[in-house]
């Protein structure tokens, strides 16, 4: 039977691997965090992430007050590792219309079968695009948005990665002055998203 600290170490390895390969790998804090984990080992995970539920602004883990990015299920902008939308409750892959879809993009019904249209044919895939780089760009006219900084909180017993969608705009999605947050290169936080890792905390 695996010892508890070995389980934490494996979790830290997976987490550090995800940090390294995620889009925030150039984040200063991301690199620092990965290095810290590599040196200190898995026990740093438990120490860095509070074991109890994080305070929230409008979703767990969000301790500031920047609004969520636009999404199929506002105000919750849940994303996968690549920034594409997920259903906020089930975590399933969804398209831009909020429909659960398979890997080919076809909408599925409650039984997991591909939905059919009124003509009896399988519904063609609808667009499924990135919340930050595509949705914010089109719905708010921000052509310079990038997914940049992130931080981690414990939510629902698992590690949640909160992600900044950053822009050079001095106004954030709330309409008021934007904060630097974890953005870099002159960008500031325009809106926020989150990714649930599934790792225990």
């Amino acid at each position: 039977m695996r010892r508890p600290e070995q389980a934490i170490d494996r979790g830290a390895e997976r987490l550090s691997a995800k940090l390294a390969e995620s889009t925030t790998r150039r984040s200063f804090l991301g690199r620092l965090g990965a290095a810290a984990l590599a040196v200190a080992g898995g026990s740093a995970v438990a120490a860095a992430v509070k074991p109890d539920e994080a305070d929230a602004f409008h979703f767990c883990g969000h301790i500031w007050n920047t609004g969520s990015c636009p999404s199929p299920y506002p105000p919750l902008a849940r994303i996968d590792r690549h920034g594409y939308p997920l259903h906020p409750k089930s975590g399933k892959r969804i398209d831009n219309l909020g429909r659960v879809v398979d890997s080919a993009g076809h909408a599925l019904d409650g039984n997991g079968r591909r939905r059919r249209g009124p003509d009896g044919r399988v519904l063609p895939p609808a667009p499924r695009t990135r919340i930050c780089e595509d949705w914010v760009r089109e719905t708010h006219g921000k052509n310079d948005v990038r997914t940049q900084g992130s931080w981690f909180r414990c939510c629902g017993g698992q590690i949640r990665k909160l992600v900044d969608c950053c822009s050079f705009s001095r106004r954030r999605i709330n309409g008021d002055a934007s904060l630097v947050g974890y953005c870099w290169g002159g960008r500031r936080v325009y809106c926020v998203m989150y990714y649930d890792s599934g790792l225990d905390c």
Partner: protein, 426 residues
């Protein structure tokens, strides 16, 4: 309050007229603003679906006024603040009195009609018409002050009207009942329901559509014309194109005489004789083809991967429109047959598709998460209007047709798959 607007109180007959004018203007403006706000709120909230609710409220109000049910009314049982005319200048208190009464809900409500009007304005979901209707309410408020009288004072005139209260209440009941009936019968922003079916096509009167039972129906004045084992109709004057098991047939719809036939993996015809645009599936691609049915010459307009959705084209007056949807983007293409295709509308977020052309306009659907819109664009000016919208995740838009200023759209239920064709005039 009417006794306030006298030469003695105002100071002179000139000041009385000024006060009355300010009161009337303020009552009108405030009532109109209230109507506009309600119409705007209705448009924002999508309350145009609530016309039946407004009809129900009118019926309930009629029952209340007829003393069939007992219902308290939300109201502020207040008179206009009398101290204002001692403390404030005449223009201010006269305008203030007008605004207070023009708003309606800041004073005593003798009948429920005001609240029915508010519900109607919400359901109308259009600020300007709602403002105009409510301005009439403000005008009514001002009428007792500004209506010229030879012998009676304003107070006596009000008392005479009050003496006729029973007759007025009966008239109010009748008016509310009539409103309920008209609201219930009125075509809503959802449009007028035509029939169950999908894929509408129209050309100067007759409408062709497909049934979910696998037939095509041509609806006209007189008996409908049915074609069995058919789908995807496109009607042009006396001709009908549709898809059957072996391809596309072009027939004279009145008697079924076969005019032309195109065999193979073809679908989604759009007919404007002698031209026919359709989709042909070849191996791993879908192609939009334009064929001259007289000469037989064909031209490929575009080609896309079979994993993309190449939609039903719309052919009208030397122009062609169609949609292509991928997992990255949805686009509506438009071209003059003498030119090259160009992207007219595109989105990486919404699903834009199902274009339909008329002589001057382009109609299409826009679907987002939980909402769908029916939009029309004037091809020359570029102006865009939303002519219908639906909210919810269980209902969506499908194919469209456009004839002049009448739009047809298929609405369908995602859980059941049932489709219905609606008509919207704009």
């Amino acid at each position: 309050m009417v006794e306030t607007f006298t030469p003695a109180v105002c100071g002179s007959r000139t000041r009385q007229r000024l006060a009355a004018a300010l009161f009337a203007a303020s009552a009108l403006a405030t009532a109109a603003a209230l109507g506009a706000l309600l119409g705007l709120a209705g448009a924002t909230l999508g309350a145009d679906r609530a016309v039946l609710a407004a009809a129900g409220l009118a019926l309930l109000a009629a029952a209340r006024e007829a003393r069939l049910v007992r219902l308290p009314l939300p109201q502020s049982r207040r008179q206009v603040p009398e101290r204002w005319r001692f403390e404030l200048p005449l223009p201010v208190w006269a305008s203030g009195y007008g605004a207070g009464l023009g708003a309606g809900f800041l004073t005593y409500q003798p009948v429920a009609t005001f609240w029915v009007a508010c519900a109607g304005a919400l359901a109308l979901a259009r600020p300007l018409p709602a403002a105009l209707c409510f301005a009439l309410y403000g005008a009514g408020r001002a009428l007792m002050l500004v209506w010229p009288r030879r012998r009676l004072g304003a107070a006596e005139a009000v008392e005479r009207i009050a003496a006729r209260r029973p007759a007025l209440l009966r008239a109010n009941v009748a008016g509310l009942a009539a409103c309920a009936a008209l609201l219930a019968l009125a075509p809503t922003a959802e449009g007028a329901r035509i029939t169950s079916g999908l894929d509408p096509s129209t050309d100067r009167g007759p409408v062709a559509l497909a049934t979910q039972g696998g037939s095509v129906v041509v609806r006209r004045r007189g008996p409908d014309v049915h074609y069995q084992n058919a789908s995807s109709p496109s009607i042009y004057r006396g001709l009908l194109a549709y898809v059957d098991s072996s391809g596309i047939r072009v027939v004279r719809w009145s008697d079924g005489k076969l005019i032309r036939r195109i065999k193979g993996a073809v679908s989604r015809p759009s007919l404007k004789w002698p031209l026919l645009a359709f989709r042909r599936d070849v191996s791993r691609t879908s192609r939009l083809v334009l064929r001259n049915l007289k000469t037989g010459r064909a031209r490929q307009i575009t080609k896309v991967s079979r994993s993309h959705d190449l939609g039903r084209p719309s052919l009208r007056r030397g122009r062609l429109a169609w949609h292509v949807t991928t997992r990255k983007i949805s686009r509506i293409y438009y071209m003059r047959l003498s030119g090259r295709p160009r992207v007219l509308i595109q989105s990486r977020v919404a699903l834009v598709r199902n274009p339909a052309l008329s002589d001057r306009r382009l109609l299409w659907t826009v679907e987002r998460s939980g909402r769908a819109y029916l939009r029309v664009r004037h091809l020359r000016t570029g102006s865009v209007r939303t002519i219908a919208r639906i909210r919810g995740r269980k209902v969506g838009y499908w194919t469209t047709a456009l004839g002049g200023k009448t739009a047809y759209v298929t609405r369908w239920s995602l859980p059941t798959g049932m489709a219905t064709v609606y008509k919207h005039r704009f």
